[in-house]
């Protein structure tokens, strides 16, 4: 049994000895597929560069290209991206270089945490209060429509905080409204509040509805963030919910935290509006904005007057890509609308040929700023007119928008429009970025401390307990192999504190053997025969070992449930180490010692 476990352990620990190839993972975005043609296009692109790939493999919907060096990999990155165009996303990654028979067994190397492989970790807080007020805003417009349709006259509808307040001038109308709203929206709480001379209805979201709104906001944001991250070209991204309002995004290998944060947090979208040419812009600048219009500014600061009615919003954009305008050569975003949006756009452009239409670039940001030493949440809305152009002919589903400053901006905007909008504003509340060189250093240093610690303990044990010490040393090595094997099999994340946990285990794993060996020595001192002493030593030490280890295990479990990323890694290796060490130190050493001393009559033990 011991032999089988050890062999299995060695087998599954084996992948960690193989190197990793710098590679590139190519996946298709949107409707494109990765197939043989993609492969030959990449081969051509590489040929032009004079780089030969080490190998190419088709995986599920992805193509893995291996390179001989990371210089080749980096050189090829831009070239391949350009050659494949926007339908494909190449992502840099490291692929283990395993022989086929190991892959067939499902053996994989350990999964390294971000602190070891380098990358970006961001914790995102979803602004749930905004999600609720946005929902209240939507309901207030629904209620307005409802009351209009039912021809029930109201004085005023407004959203106050998380509530919608409707004002009536008679009690009768108010009661009618309560019934109407209550029937139409069952998930709202409707309440009458009387003030002097005014009959008010207060509408608020029921607790269940609030929860639903928040759940939806979180899910929608996760989806949007996933789309955005995928478009960034990072392999193995992880986007997970944490608690009720947080999202953890982990991007192994990502290098540019500024860019990542910008894309993750951005809320950029577009709106299309007609320009108001009937009124004077100067008057508006001086404070007399005509009804039905709003004042905007272009990027160069010029004021423009636009109609309040929006033709199409960013939500109706189903696809977007970036490119260059064929006539002027300036950066452009090509936009496709959904059915409703396309219909509206066709009608509006049809009716307004010859008139100017404006594209408004809108960005919302929630951030925490320090004001008088205290963090304060600030919301900022940027609205800029990026282009105004005369409608030359009616258009519908597909069209282009220019006016962006750089191709990069066009690319980012297209990415954001394609990925969809965030359902509620988000804020980055934690960031941890680890450069790849630091990760590698940590691996090297961690490995060195494990080896040095191991060597010292082994020497000590061999000197102190002689033959038995050597047996304990074997158990210790076996224990390490098993820890690595189990970590590889579970694909549990190995972090720097995780390595520290392994180091600690090396020191503590011999404890069980020390307990047993001390007992055996005591038994011999009491005048018992060697065989009986071994027997008694193992038996008596057993319950002590179990008790002592269970308490450490309790600490590990608490650590795991409390900890974040790296700390969890520590708890995991500690717990695995405790379990494997009990196996190797009790069962493993017993087997070896029986094999050495078991078959013959022994006069004395080398202990």
């Amino acid at each position: 049994m011991v032999l089988v476990v050890v062999l299995l352990g060695a087998l599954y620990a084996l992948p960690n000895l193989f190197g990793q190839d710098p590679s590139m993972e190519i996946s298709a975005t949107r409707d494109a597929v990765v197939d043989q043609t993609t492969q030959s296009r990449i081969e051509q692109a590489l040929q032009q560069l004079g780089i030969s790939a080490k190998g190419m493999e088709m995986q599920q919907k992805k193509l893995l290209v291996r390179f001989n060096s990371s210089e080749d990999q980096l050189k090829a990155m831009d070239h391949i991206a350009a050659a494949l165009g926007e339908d494909y996303t190449p992502a840099l990654t490291l692929a283990p270089d395993l022989p086929d028979w190991l892959i067939g067994l499902g053996a994989e190397p350990m999964y390294l945490g971000l602190d070891l492989r380098g990358g970006i970790h961001v914790l995102i807080d979803v602004d749930m209060e905004s999600a609720i007020t946005q929902a209240a805003e939507r309901y207030s417009s629904d209620i307005r429509t409802l009351l209009r349709e039912e021809k029930l006259r109201y004085v005023r509808i407004s959203r106050e905080g998380e509530q919608v307040v409707v004002k009536f001038n008679t009690a009768e109308k108010r009661d009618q409204a309560i019934e109407l709203i209550g029937n139409e929206f069952r998930n709202l709480n409707v309440q009458d509040v009387d003030q002097e001379e005014a009959f008010l209805v207060e509408v608020s979201l029921s607790p269940a509805e609030k929860q639903e709104v928040q759940r939806f906001a979180l899910q929608q944001n996760i989806t949007t963030l996933r789309n955005r991250v995928n478009a960034l070209g990072i392999s193995e991204p992880s986007i997970q919910q944490q608690g009720v309002r947080r999202i953890v995004v982990q991007l192994p290998g990502a290098q540019d935290p500024g860019k990542v944060k910008e894309i993750l947090g951005a809320t950029a979208t577009l709106e299309y509006r007609l320009a108001d040419t009937e009124h004077s812009v100067e008057d508006a600048v001086n404070g007399r904005v005509p009804p039905g219009a709003s004042l905007y500014y272009e990027r160069d600061g010029r004021p423009v007057l636009l109609k309040k009615r929006v033709i199409v919003t960013g939500n109706q954009i189903v696809d977007a890509s970036s490119g260059l305008d064929q006539q002027t050569g300036s950066p452009a975003v090509f936009v496709s609308l959904d059915g409703v949006g396309a219909k509206r756009m066709r009608r509006m452009t049809n009716e307004n040929v010859g008139r100017p239409m404006a594209v408004v670039f809108i960005e919302n940001r929630t951030t925490t700023r320090m004001v008088d030493g205290k963090p304060v949440k600030v919301k900022r809305k940027v609205e800029e007119v990026i282009s105004i152009a005369t409608i030359r002919e009616p258009f519908g589903r597909r069209f282009q928008t220019t006016g962006l400053d750089t191709t990069e901006e066009a690319r980012d905007l297209a990415l954001l429009l394609r990925a969809g909008a965030l359902a509620a504003p988000i804020e980055i509340v934690e960031e941890r970025t680890i450069g790849p060189s630091l990760g590698q250093d940590s691996i090297d240093q961690g490995f060195a401390s494990v080896m040095i610690g191991l060597a010292m303990v082994m020497v000590f044990m061999a000197v102190y307990y002689r033959v038995f010490g050597l047996v304990a040393d074997m158990a210790l090595v076996m224990n390490l192999v098993l820890i690595v094997a189990i970590l590889s099999m579970l694909q549990a994340t190995l972090t720097l504190p995780g390595i520290a946990g392994i180091v600690l285990t090396v020191g503590m794993a011999v404890d069980a053997n020390v307990l047993i060996f001390q007992r055996i020595r005591e038994e011999i001192a009491n005048g018992n025969s060697p065989q009986a002493s071994i027997q008694a030593g193992y038996e008596k030490a057993f319950s002590t070992i179990i008790d002592a280890n269970i308490t450490t295990l309790i600490a590990a479990v608490v650590l795991f449930s409390f900890g974040t990323g790296p700390i969890k890694g520590f708890a995991v290796t500690l717990a695995i180490g405790i379990l494997t060490s009990m196996f190797t130190a009790i069962i493993g050493t017993r087997a070896v010692i029986n094999w050495i001393y078991g078959r013959k009559r022994v006069q004395s033990l080398a202990i």
Binding site: E431, I452, F460, A500, M508, I550, T552, I554, V558
Partner: protein, 311 residues
Amino acid sequence: MQILNKGTYLDLMGKRQLAIYFSIFLLLISLAAIFIRGLNLGIDFTGGTLVEVKYPQAIELAVVREALEKDGFTESVVQHFGTSQEVLVRLAPQEGVESSELSDRAFHAMQSITPEAELRRVEFVGPQVGEELTEDGGLAMLYALIGILIYVGLRFEYRFAVGSVIALVHDVLITVGFFALFQVEFDLPVLAAVLAVIGYSLNDTIVVFDRIRENFRKMRKGETVEIINTSVNQTLSRTLITSGTTLLVLIALFLFGGEIIHGFALALIVGVVIGTYSSIYVASSSVISMGVSRADLMPVKKDDEVVDETP
């Protein structure tokens, strides 16, 4: 080879009065350090921004400071980290700047010295998150203690459980006190190490308790103190050997594990030393003070003719 001669019998418990004074002395210093000097909490708990940059050659801190000041980072703390090529900067929150953007701007400022500067690490923790971590950390400590109290209470007897928890609180306070006294940065990995110390120290204590229980049942004669003293003596070499091997690997980790893991290794080293001492003295002394007697540990179903005569 042996550390202690076979016949070694130290009157450890006889000196327990001295040990109690020593422990009280350590505890008072620790508490004073914690409350007067306070912990030098890392950004994991306080919130804040930290940027580590590696330059191709050794760099003067003044140069980095100047570059940062030019970009408006006047209140940042700049220091070498590990080698003179690496620089660690702690950024103070700035009025009117988004805290999550601070790090990017600081790195650009530091890169302006030479474009070959390499970003090694960024840690930004928002104030909300820091607060939550502090709270969760305290709770985790509490849960660990309660879990252990229950387990030891079930396996032994409540006085042993209380004794082991006294020892644990003792170890945790002194380890944390050490960090407060020398103003070593207390961050998340250090907290994890303190939790691991709880597990480790208990491990030691349990082994001693196990022996005490066994000896109470085996040795028909002898005062409580004498039995406990014998038990501690019998487990003494084991306690010292295990602590020794653990310290060996921890020192390896401290010396070779890199700068990031320093505090973590240090906390464990202090914890293991204190834990070893406390499992010998604090846990057993507490049990004696609470007046454990043989009757408390005898298996219940006894039809033994020996009546307990110790008071």
